[in-house]
Each structure stands twice: as C-alpha cells, then as structure tokens.
C-alpha cells in the first residue's frame, strides 16, 4: 500500500508534464505568416453590390455553414421618399439565391452585404466567460470551437447579429474572415467570388493596400458607430437608413 501511494505521488507530476505536451496542439499552419504584421478589415462598396448572392453561397461552401444560417448575408433595402427611419428590409434565405425582381415604386432600392465587423473592442469577446472567442493579434475575431460552451452570451452581445449557434456542434459560430485563407495569402471566399468588386479584403497594416487611398478619398462609414465597437468593415456609399 505504501509503495503504491509513493509511486502515485511521483507519477502525478510526471503525468501532468506529459499531458502538457499532449495539449501542445497542432503546429502553426502558415509558417511564413506573422501575426503582428497584419490588421484585417473589409471594404464594402454598396453602389457596386448587385445582390447576386455569390458571396453567401461561397461562404457557405468554404466554411461548411449549415443550411439557413449565415456568416454573411445580403439585405435589400427599400426606402420610400423621406422615410429613412423606416426602411423596408428583406433578406430571403440570406440572399443566397439572389433576390426576386420587385416593382420599382419610386423609392430608393439597394443591397447591403453584411458580415462580422471584426470589431477592435468587440462586445462578443468581452462577454465570453471562458475565453472561447477572442480578437487575434492581427485583428480577426475568432471562435475556438473546442473551448466554446455554447452559452450564447456572445450571440446576444453582438449588436450586428452576426453570430449564431451551430445546430450540429452546439458552439457559437461567425465569420472568421476566412482566416484559413488570408493567412495563406489568399483573399476571403466572399471577396474572391464577388463579381463586381463590391467586397474587398483590406490589410490596414499594409501601407501598399489600396484601402488607404480609398479611405482618404471616399465618404466611408461603419455600422452603428454609436456603439463604439471599433468596427473594421467599412461601407462606402451607405444610405442613412442602413442599420
């Protein structure tokens, strides 16, 4: 009995050390990528969006987004005359299959693509009780699905409604800004397939990125600036009715 107890006491710390190595995880996938060398955002040029839904379909395929859930979606706004406080907004199936034609009854009609704003001071990461969602050193808000409890605090906290609970994994899910692509030097799936260039990935730390020239020369807004979330998805030509 004595020997067993002593052996156990010796084995416990040894097991702890071994377990640490087990938990060390997978090696970095992109060895040439420096986390601190980037600061990711996106530019959305509303007057260029044709509401084709390519981005929604591409996102679903690239990221295995479950049916009738969306990491990105398109809204069609219809604003009559001066009623900009009461726009009619619709997004059938997230705009995945495009939008059925509708009669132009004199109002203002346009499409607004939406996605996670990858906020600098993101409300969703602040409420996570376990540290399963976080802002990476390169400015992308990600979800660690092996650590997420599925408590849904973050889903309620996001002022943009960009999160959902994946019904298969029961973990919170959202746009990852195609982190697996941008770290390999590719653009996001939605930006890749956007036929009009209405969506453009932007690296705000790269001085050669055309985003800097664009931001200097255009009237650009973010969604819900009064929430002080530090949103990094910039909208060009956005109407005052967009929420």
């Amino acid at each position: 009995m004595d020997t067993t107890r002593r052996r156990l006491l010796v084995l416990l710390p040894a097991a702890a050390v071994a377990w640490k190595f087990v938990l060390a995880g997978t090696p970095e996938a992109s060895p040439n990528y420096t986390l601190t060398g980037h600061w990711w955002g996106m530019l959305i040029d509303i007057p260029k969006c044709i509401g084709c839904g390519s981005c929604v379909r591409a996102c679903a395929e690239e990221n295995d987004v479950p049916e009738s859930y969306y990491r990105t979606w398109i809204e069609r706004y219809h604003v009559t005359d001066w009623h900009i406080e009461r726009p009619k907004v619709e997004s059938p199936d997230g705009g995945k299959q495009g939008f059925p034609p509708h009669a132009d009854d004199g109002g203002k009609n346009f499409f607004v693509p939406k996605l996670c704003n990858h906020c600098v001071d993101s409300p969703c990461t602040q409420v996570c009780p376990v540290g399963a969602t976080f802002v990476t050193p390169d400015g992308v808000v990600l979800v660690d699905k092996s650590y997420c409890l599925g408590c849904r605090y973050c889903i309620q906290a996001c002022p943009y409604g960009c999160r959902f609970l994946n019904p298969k994994t029961n973990t919170a899910e959202k746009c990852s800004l195609c982190y697996h692509r941008i770290t390999k030097g590719l653009t996001t799936a939605c930006c890749e397939v956007c036929p009009t260039g209405a969506r453009q990935l932007a690296d705000l730390k790269n001085p050669k990125d055309p985003i800097h020239e664009f931001l200097r020369t255009h009237t650009v807004q973010v969604l819900k600036p009064h929430m002080a979330t530090g949103a990094k998805v910039f909208y060009n030509g956005m109407d005052g009715s967009v929420r």
């Binding site: 060390a24 986390l35 260029k48 509401g51 690239e62 009609n109 540290g131 050193p137």
Partner: protein, 182 residues
C-alpha cells in the same frame, strides 16, 4: 520587598514555561494542518497544469493554439491566380471583355480540389441560363449602370451562351442585334 520580587519573578517564570509547553503540545496539529494545505496547493497546481491548455494566455485570455488550428482548415476556393496558371487561354479571352473582373470560381464554383488533382476532379458543366441570370436578371435594387435584362423577354428561354461567349460576353459578330437589345 526582595521576597516579594522573587515571588513575582518565580511566578512569571513558572507561567512562561507552562505556556511554552502548551504551545509545543499543539504543534503537531499545526504541522498536520500545514501539510494538508501544502498537499492542497500542490494538487491545485498539478490539476491546473493538467486542465488549463498549454497555450492559454499566450496572446491573451484564450487558447493561443486555436489560431493555428483555425488557420489550418483546408481551402475550398483555389483563387483565380491558381486557375490562371493552367487556363491561360481563358484568362486571355477574359482580358478582352468586361468579365475580366469576375473570378473563375464566381461562376464555376469552388474548385480547390480540381486544382489539387486536375485529372480526377472535373468541374461541372454550367447551365448559362441559370448562372448568368444570377447577376444579370433585372432588379430595381441593382445599380443602374449594371447590365441587366429580364431573361424571359430577352432570350425566351434560350441559354445565354447561344449568343454570348461567357468569358467575353459582348456579341462581336452581330453588332446591330446587340445594340437593338440594349
């Protein structure tokens, strides 16, 4: 006076020694208590090391390895640069028309698997009547300058590529017809 002092001195000395003895008498309990606490602290440290992931706190209050795990996901869309390394003829055709800005996979779908193994994974043949209409079907919310048609009136159900070559969509040979349609 002297006697009194001696008595007081003897008395205090007697009390002191008795107190010391009492303290040492309880020492065994204290040592046991300390041992239990030390074991608890060691158990906590070992348990914490076992339960908290190795990389937690590397960059912030989260598991640092999660970044690498998320980045390790395979891509589905190869990107038009990859396509153009082989399909130079199509890339050249596209350069002559307005579809130069449209990436290959916007119409042809995600084809990273085809790019990895072009022999065995072949892209599906597209139905232009569906694919073209996704962008070019008329809708009042589309930008006014964007070319759009009501497909039912425009082609009467004919596939778009009957007249328009998809990679260079402008009809060069029948200019009058194209103008008439516009």
């Amino acid at each position: 006076m002297k006697e009194h002092c001696a008595i007081v001195g003897a008395g205090s000395a007697g009390k002191f020694s008795a107190g010391t003895v009492n303290l040492f008498k309880d020492l065994e309990h204290l040592i046991r208590l300390a041992a239990v606490m030390v074991i608890a602290v060691v158990a906590f440290v070992i348990l914490r090391a076992a339960v908290v992931p190795h990389s937690f706190g590397e960059y912030g209050h989260y598991r640092g390895d999660a970044i690498g795990e998320i980045a390790a996901r395979p891509v589905a869309f190869a990107g038009h640069d990859t396509c153009e390394t082989c399909h130079t003829d199509v890339a050249d055709q596209k350069k002559l028309g307005k579809h130069v800005v449209v990436a290959c996979e916007a119409c042809h779908g995600a084809l990273a698997k085809h790019a990895d193994d072009p022999g065995s994974v072949q892209p599906k043949k597209l139905d232009t009547a569906v694919v073209c209409a996704r962008c070019h079907e008329a809708n009042s919310a589309k930008p006014k300058g964007f070319p759009q048609v009501a497909t039912a009136d425009h082609s009467g159900g004919l596939a778009c590529d009957t007249c328009h070559p998809p990679h260079r969509p402008k009809i060069e040979t029948a200019k009058t017809a194209a103008e008439g349609k516009k």
